[in-house]
Subunit: 153 residues, 2 copies
Amino acid sequence: MPIQPTKSTFMNLALDEARAAAARNEVPIGAVLVDGEGKILAQAGNRTEAGSDPTAHAEIEVIRQACALRGEARLPDCALYVTLEPCPMCATAISFARLARLYYAAPDAKGGGVEHGPRIFHQPTCHHRPDLYPGIGEDQAAALLRVFFQERR
Amino acid sequence: MPIQPTKSTFMNLALDEARAAAARNEVPIGAVLVDGEGKILAQAGNRTEAGSDPTAHAEIEVIRQACALRGEARLPDCALYVTLEPCPMCATAISFARLARLYYAAPDAKGGGVEHGPRIFHQPTCHHRPDLYPGIGEDQAAALLRVFFQERR
């Protein structure tokens, strides 16, 4: 029987993407999008700087890539792993893409849109809410961001 | 002295993009992005179906195009004209792009994120709020959407 990748494995890959983003001078956030059978459809880091694109958050990147791969605008069997609580833009995109599950590592009191700010999935006008699994890999994800901003202040 | 394009002119172009979207079987929403001197940087309609991309709202399309054109992730001199009240995803992207002004035609009680739902620009965690000008071209924009959905129900 093949060894099934675990939730920590996927979050570790997302953390690798966050580290690779930091090495490119991008805010270190990474994401992995996994289908219902545990196959990785897309993985990416934040690339707002490289792409001069304010929408190029890691979550948007993997959603766009996986949708393009499938030729579908909805991915109802899929799970997203991301190293930081998604912002309101990404949370809304996750809802539009009908993702089944959202795993995120660190909370984001300043910019998050899931458990902070507009709490997108709790809005009466939000038509799809993924199952939420915060906290896996939180310490590592938070440390990556802390070091990145300390070095730049 | 050259004739300056008016706000109605830009909204009419956005309405043209919405009509073109409808002709492609996309939800009829269009957007135009204009710089501080009144020059059009990008215009686009919704293309979520054609691109199999749940993030390909008209607003995201013009922001991405204009940022790519300029090589900048922020467009602080620019104004966005769009035929429907932006959703929370697009409102957040507008904030990230630091757009100066947002003109939108029709309100969207079901899916809007500016004066409805999470009211993104009123959130304490929203760091940039454009000046808001709703209502230009409202009747035409609302009629386009009404006819589109009537024909498909």
